[in-house]
């Protein structure tokens, strides 16, 4: 089911994210998804060789999730395929009935576990969205006609509301909307006041935005993100909160509490939430319950 239909109905859209394994055995991933995500979230993102680390493909994992009755979101980056490969995989997704896409430029190859690889970037997030619109109109990027009924997708994109250069982010967001983005998922937010300020400016684009949540697991993780991950800044007060009761943090209770609180504070300003659990999928039902969703 297309995410855009849910937004149109006025639902507060809840999605989560899973990362395929480095191998082709996905019994564990499917079990977690069926246990903790099915019935709790509207759709599940499947990352595309996240952080440039080579793994099982997003499309195949999306298909496996769909066969188990989950609603997958096919994440696509422009790092590993040129426009021929991207268009072909989009048609393959349509064949499998996968109708939610999330378009990203992608991390650079040098950040991952095969740093010798050639970075492609034939297209980027904006021209990928533009290409999707062309496919939906019944022709490929070069203007050649497609056979039969054209595919139709809910076309998503990402934005970083707490970036250190939020004005540049907003300009890019606008370019994505112009190119056809119909919904946005954000980078992890830890500062509601920054997010609310961002939403005041972003609402002019008239496109639904899902608040991004990365469950803070421990002090080491958030300090690492502060130093290395673009668009993320965890305030000192939150680091102190994670430090205060080490046992509680270790059990995941602090992370769940913080995540639920962030959702509650930001909910009036956005149209959904996207939870990136990074292996803590089992905490998602608890977070949603505490957030009143």
């Amino acid at each position: 089911m297309m995410l855009t239909e849910l937004f149109q109905r006025g639902e507060f859209v809840v999605t989560a994210e899973v990362g395929p394994p480095k191998g082709y055995h996905i019994e564990h991933l499917l079990h977690e998804a069926e246990t903790y995500l099915k019935g709790h979230v509207h759709a599940v993102n499947v990352t595309d060789n996240q952080s440039s680390v080579m793994r099982l493909g997003s499309l195949a994992t999306c298909k496996a999730l769909k066969d188990k009755g989950l609603n997958p979101i096919f994440q696509m980056t422009c790092r590993d395929r040129n426009r021929i490969g991207l268009q072909s995989d989009i048609l393959s997704a349509a064949l499998f009935g996968i109708d939610n896409l999330l378009c990203l430029t992608g991390d650079h190859t040098t950040l991952g576990d095969n740093p010798q690889a050639k970075p492609v970037f034939d297209l980027d997030s904006v021209s990928l969205l533009h290409m999707l619109k062309k496919l939906e109109s019944g022709e490929d990027m070069a203007g050649n006609p497609l056979e039969g009924e054209p595919p139709k997708f809910a076309k998503g994109a990402v934005v970083s509301p707490c970036s250190d250069s939020v004005d540049v982010q907003l300009a890019k967001m606008e370019a994505k909307v112009r190119a056809g983005a119909e919904y946005f998922q954000t980078q992890a937010v830890y500062e509601p006041e920054k997010f609310i300020k961002f939403m005041e400016k972003a609402k002019q684009f008239g496109v639904p935005v899902q608040l991004g949540i990365v469950i803070p697991k421990n002090v080491g993780m958030v300090k690492y993100m502060n130093a290395n991950v673009a668009g993320i800044s965890v305030p000192d007060s939150m680091i102190a909160e994670l430090q205060a009761d080490k046992e509680k943090t270790k059990a995941g209770i602090t992370g769940v509490e913080i995540s639920a609180r962030l959702i509650k504070e930001c909910k009036p300003y956005c149209q959904g939430v996207h939870i990136m659990a990074l292996g803590w999928e089992s905490k998602i039902p608890d977070i949603l319950a505490k957030a009143g969703l």
Binding site: T105, D124, S127, S165, V168, A171, A175, R178, A179
Partner: protein, 209 residues
């Protein structure tokens, strides 16, 4: 070797807004320059009376050389609304960086030619893409200043303005945004999605011969 080709007459006419100074770069043995076509076009541009100076020099890609060469035209340049540069992509970037408060536009596209390539002794580089983007990016080249050579804005991977690939490098697209902001030209970024044509430079050089 590089070959520079003039952009279309309509494109260049649209760029020549207000008082205009033209800078030609001739004489570099690594770059073919369409001397005659450029002279004819500049003559036509001058008819309206808006072209206040036509400067022809060599090696404007060398910043020190450029500074000395432009010294005696300081007043004319200060007074100009627009500076049009007829050179390879490196020359345009050097002028745009030197005249950082001016609207500096490229009037040529730069394509590769097989053979020995000249050495450019500075941080600017021209990707010889054959479809020069410098006019919509404030004179900063997205092909060479962005690690991913993106043409539709930044990837979002920069942290504190530093590129995700190389922390010693500024994010090229943040530089472009700040430059356009400074020039009051952020509207320039509101273009339709750009898609690169990788067949272009090769097609052109085949046509040539």
């Amino acid at each position: 070797m590089l070959i520079t080709q003039l952009k279309s007459k309509e494109t260049i006419e649209a760029l020549a807004k207000g008082k205009t100074v033209i800078i030609n770069c001739h004489g570099c043995k690594e770059v073919y320059f369409p001397e005659q076509e450029a002279a004819e076009l500049q003559k036509e541009l001058s008819v309206g009376g808006n072209v206040t100076e036509i400067i022809t020099r060599d090696y404007i890609c060398n910043p020190d050389n450029l500074r000395f060469q432009l010294k005696k035209f300081e007043d004319k340049i200060k007074d100009a609304d627009t500076v049009l540069v007829f050179s390879c992509g490196v020359g345009v970037q050097t002028v745009a960086a030197f005249l950082e408060d001016k609207k500096v536009f490229a009037c040529c596209d730069t394509c590769p030619l097989p053979g020995f390539q000249g050495v450019t002794p500075l941080e600017f580089d021209c990707g010889q893409c054959g479809e020069c983007y410098l006019n919509s990016t404030g004179g900063i080249c997205p092909i060479t200043a962005c690690s991913k050579s993106l043409v539709n804005g930044q990837c979002g991977g920069a942290k504190n303005g530093r590129c995700e690939v190389n922390k010693d490098m500024e994010c090229g697209w943040e530089r472009i945004y700040r430059k356009l902001e400074k020039l009051g030209r952020l509207d320039t970024l509101k273009y339709e999605a750009k898609v690169r044509d990788y067949a272009k430079p090769f097609k052109e050089s085949k046509d040539e011969g």
